[in-house]
Amino acid sequence: MLFELEHLTYQYEGVTAVDDLSLAIPEGSRVALLGANGSGKSTLLRLFDGLIFGQGGVAWFRGQELSEEHLGDDAFALPFRRTVGIVFQNPDVQLFNPTVFDEVAFGPLQMCWPKIEIRERTAEILERLRISHLKDRVPHRLSGGEKKRVALASVLVLDPAVLLLDEPTASLDPRSQSEVIDLLVEWGGGAKAVITATHDLGDLEDIADRCFVLDRGRLVAEGSPDEILKDRELLQRTNLVHQHRHRHPTGELHSHPHVHGAK
């Protein structure tokens, strides 16, 4: 198994974000973590990435416990960070270097790659994400879409086998959203695992072949995108769809469940 959680619990200052959660994610899976705001998706991604640690239960990565002690040991931490990459919802938190080129090169530098390789790989990923022209710009002065691309590039440059994405298309314009999804679908290939936290159901079938639905930190459903999308009662109960009301030109008032982000 790639990730395994056993009765994992995490609380922020007394508020339970992940509640007695158990799940397993096989190698090479494309998984969507679905849930409304505050359902615990982002916290779960951070637990997967070993950035925070549960107060109860255990998290495993390829059979090794994700604990503070293990992550404090370079022998485990460096290969783990090389293998698992996370893209945060807010790109601003991921941009802290003086130029875009430095930002993208930051991860490989921490991994102590040869500098020639870092330069080549950085230039290549900037080209692939079509942001080469931004390489000398200050990252936190870019537009929202550009920031997101730089944040993605800064993680993809390490070519991680596991990619954790927190609302990857949030606050992007429709064209950028579509480009990001295309990129992720193309990048994921077959051998890589992509775990996406989202409440946007529009691209679900493109980005996932397995879904976990969270509600207030608890796992409430699991299934294929098709199974989840067909379960309207579940989607309404977990606030993933809402009752959309509109008036037809005939004057008739009509209401139906609305899937957020549906194409």
């Binding site: 925070i52 370079d74 960070r81 601003d92 938190v93 802290f96 090169a105 921490q110 200050v138 002065r141």
Partner: protein, 273 residues
């Protein structure tokens, strides 16, 4: 122009926003200034860090006012040769150093026993003591400003690590720089949002309330965001060590600069005994 607009111009929110915008520009200015061509910009960061610190030490050890003044003059000359405008040095180093060291030094003017100066209630010995304190602060602040404005921040941090400054200290310095920007950006957004919802001019009491509540919210937001920045750094393998793409390589000019700094610092230490 309407009365409301006339009153709102230069109001609390506008002044705060303008102040925050200027602060952000200042925070970003150092990187621009470091990439210009100038005397110190061309010197290896290790040489610059060691050389300017050696001059600060010579200032701290000096027992004669003229040697401190000479170091300050040298710093001014270096600033001019490094394309750093004196106006900028005055506003960002001299004013602050004068204010803080002046506050500390002022009582010495009146309290130090000695000969009265021109019949005023201050003494010659007091003026000398205060002069030492203020000049030392001015010279040290100018030298450190030269380092920061002629060296990319990441290079300063790497140079500090080369000099075996503890990882924790370097990490805190590095994060502080990013957090200041995060805080300024957050504050700017907060006040812009408030401005968009404000129609009439604010009363003094409202301004005070906004300043107090804004500070509290800002602190909370900044702490949360800066915590996330640190997590994002960790996620990409950051363990406290500073790595750079550029390797520091000593050129012939760097050896000359090193020798120049060594000679100057030694001379000032010897002359200032």
């Amino acid at each position: 122009m309407s009365d409301i607009h006339a009153r709102r111009r230069g109001g609390f929110l506008e002044n705060t926003l303008e102040g925050l915008r200027l602060a952000m520009e200042r925070a970003l200015y150092a990187e621009t200034s470091a990439s210009r061509s100038g005397l110190l910009q061309g010197v290896d960061p290790r040489v610059k860090t060691a050389g300017l610190l050696a001059l600060v030490i010579s200032v701290a050890l000096a027992a004669r006012l003229w040697t401190i003044a000479a170091v300050l003059l040298l710093a001014v000359a270096l600033a001019l040769l490094s394309a750093i405008p004196l106006r900028l040095v005055a506003s960002r180093a001299w004013m602050g150093a004068l204010f803080f060291s002046g506050m500390i030094a002022a009582p010495a003017l009146f309290l130090t026993p000695g000969t009265s100066l021109y019949g005023l209630p201050i003494t010659l010995q007091g003026a000398r003591t205060a002069g030492f304190l203020v000049l030392r602060a001015e010279a040290a602040a100018t030298l450190m400003l030269l380092l920061v404005y002629t060296t990319p921040w990441a290079h300063v941090l790497k140079a500090l690590r080369i000099f075996r400054v503890p990882v924790v200290f370097v990490v805190i310095l590095g994060m502080t720089c990013r957090y200041i920007l995060v805080m300024l950006e957050t504050a700017h957004e907060m006040f812009e949002s408030r401005k968009s919802r404000t129609v009439n001019a604010m009363t003094a009491a409202e301004q005070r309330r906004l300043a107090v509540s804004g500070s509290g919210v800002l602190l909370g937001k900044t702490m949360q965001l800066s915590g996330e920045v640190y997590l994002a750094m960790q996620a990409r393998g950051f363990r406290g060590e500073v790595f750079l793409l550029e390797d520091f390589r000593m050129k012939r000019t760097d050896w000359f600069a090193l020798a120049g700094f060594a000679v100057a610092a030694s001379l000032f230490i010897w002359a200032g005994r």
